[in-house]
């Protein structure tokens, strides 16, 4: 506690869920990342948030996800992985971002008219700058210097990718415009009071959020599954052949490794949680997701362990609160992680999520660690990211 400001740390699942739903607790996770995150969806509150979320939610419906998962993404995975499969090796961190960037660009509405690898590499470089911006709070680098570079990257990306994408849509008959975030925002810009600068950050946010969070889940899921099947070789065939097993592994991975290790809120008024915990007005609330998602009261005495056969109690998602809850629940949750299967799941009509599809595909390609090139953590951030994760593909698995 410093001066009049108090910090309240929540470590139980019940308190965290309650806090996420409290209307007087405002998003504060991205306060240091405003260079990219100012006025974007996840930073809005109250009516302003509700109005934009309602407009954007129209794009994030299950029929759209179904189209991505069954029609669009299998081809994207195959095409993206093919050169690495031929080479017999790849860095999973780079592949994950490249793979998910291809989908994120479609969802966000960033066109790549050249269709070249060089063009995708340039977009990839911009996106990684935006990731730096959004996670600036956890940076271990000179943050002011980073802000200058990231601000310039936003302007350069706007000139090279965003403005041409806007002009292309303006030239089309409204009925022929692609159904993506950019089109949606252009059509509702007046109603939502969007300036070009806010639109720029919102589209950049969708690009980074869709690609980066899924890419980190992709790498971590493969890491956990490789560890699991080393201990449980009888499950090895399931990694390539049983999408429900892979989805369970993805959910368990996301529970243990939330995209952000904390949630953060600021109290706009005094809040009393159901447990009786009092949160004073003006205080900062830290939701310790690493602890919350390992709450033994909810996930059992082995909550800290990876176990794809874990069955959480009714009303608790297998991925815990990694996608948050309440007004800021992740808009792309079902797209990334699919729908949580019930007991009567029909695999032919089930949404497994794009991360599940990508992870499972890698196991059909014989993904395995490279014994001569072990994975290393990313030293540029306090977040537990892999910096490099070299793997071998094809050949003798």
């Amino acid at each position: 506690m410093t001066g009049t400001e108090q910090t309240v740390v929540l470590t139980t699942f019940a308190d965290a869920k309650d806090a996420y739903r409290a209307k007087d607790l405002r998003q504060a996770l991205y306060d240091e990342g405003e260079i990219v995150m100012a006025d974007v969806l996840v930073n809005l509150h109250g009516e302003e948030h509700r109005a934009r979320r309602r407009v954007e939610n129209r794009l994030f419906r299950r029929e759209t996800f179904d189209h991505y998962e069954r029609d669009l993404f299998p081809g994207v995975i195959e095409t993206t992985v093919a050169p690495y499969l031929a080479a017999g090796k790849v860095d999973l961190v780079h592949l994950g971002h490249e793979l998910l960037l291809n989908l994120a660009a479609l969802t966000a509405g960033i066109d790549r008219p050249e269709g070249t690898a060089a063009e995708t590499e340039r977009l990839y470089a911009y996106m990684m700058r935006f990731v730096e911006g959004a996670t600036l709070a956890h940076s271990t680098q000179d943050k002011d210097a980073q802000r200058v570079v990231i601000g310039q990257a936003l302007l350069d990306w706007d000139a090279e990718f965003l403005t041409p994408s806007i002009e292309r849509r303006r030239a089309l008959d409204p009925a022929d415009r692609p159904r993506d975030v950019l089109t949606c925002l252009m059509e509702h810009a007046d109603e939502l009071g969007l300036t070009h600068e806010v639109l720029r950050r919102e589209v950049a946010f969708f690009l980074l959020a869709a690609a980066h969070t899924s890419a980190t889940a992709f790498v971590r899921s493969i890491d956990h599954i490789l560890g699991w099947i080393a201990e449980h070789p009888e499950d090895a065939p399931k990694a390539a052949g049983d999408p429900l097993f892979v989805q369970r592994c993805v959910h368990e991975t996301v529970r243990l490794n939330p995209s952000s290790p904390i949630g953060k809120r600021r109290a706009l008024a005094p809040v009393r949680l159901r447990s009786g915990m009092e949160i004073p007005e003006g205080s900062s609330v830290i939701i310790d997701l690493m602890a919350v998602n390992r709450d033994p009261e909810v996930f059992g005495p082995d909550a800290a362990e990876f176990n794809p056969y874990r069955t959480p109690p009714p009303g608790v998602a297998p991925f815990g609160l990694s996608f948050a809850a309440g007004m800021h629940v992740c808009i792309g949750q079902d797209l990334a992680a699919g729908v949580v299967p019930g007991n009567d799941v029909d695999p032919d009509n089930h949404l497994f999520g794009l991360v599940t599809g990508a992870v499972r595909y890698m196991f059909t390609c014989g993904v395995r660690r490279d014994p001569d090139d072990p994975p290393v953590r990313d030293a540029n951030t306090a977040r537990p990211y892999w910096g490099r994760y070299p793997v071998l593909l094809g050949g003798d698995a």
Binding site: A14, K17, D18, R21, H49, R50, R53, R54, N57, R58, F60, R61, R62, R274, P314, G315, A325, G326, M327, V329, I331
Partner: protein, 73 residues
């Protein structure tokens, strides 16, 4: 079917989970805000409570036959 459901339209963020999970019991209005269909067809009382619990914005309210609000946490 003794429980009744309602959607607080000032809270709903149009996430659409209720409409996707129980299309007979919840529909979108013209502004794509969810609304409950009377009698929540196709959903048992227990399933209705579970669905209300999973609403991301907490916009669904469930009352028992005596008009008492069901605790959703």
């Amino acid at each position: 079917m003794s429980y009744t459901a309602s959607v607080d339209k000032t809270v709903c963020i149009s996430a659409g989970l209720c409409v996707a999970e129980a299309p007979e019991a919840f529909v979108f209005d013209d502004d794509e805000i969810a609304e409950a269909v009377e009698g929540h067809p196709g959903l048992s009382d227990e399933a209705l409570v579970e669905l209300a619990r999973s609403c991301p914005s907490g916009a669904i309210r469930v009352l028992d036959a005596d008009g008492n609000e069901i605790e959703l946490t």
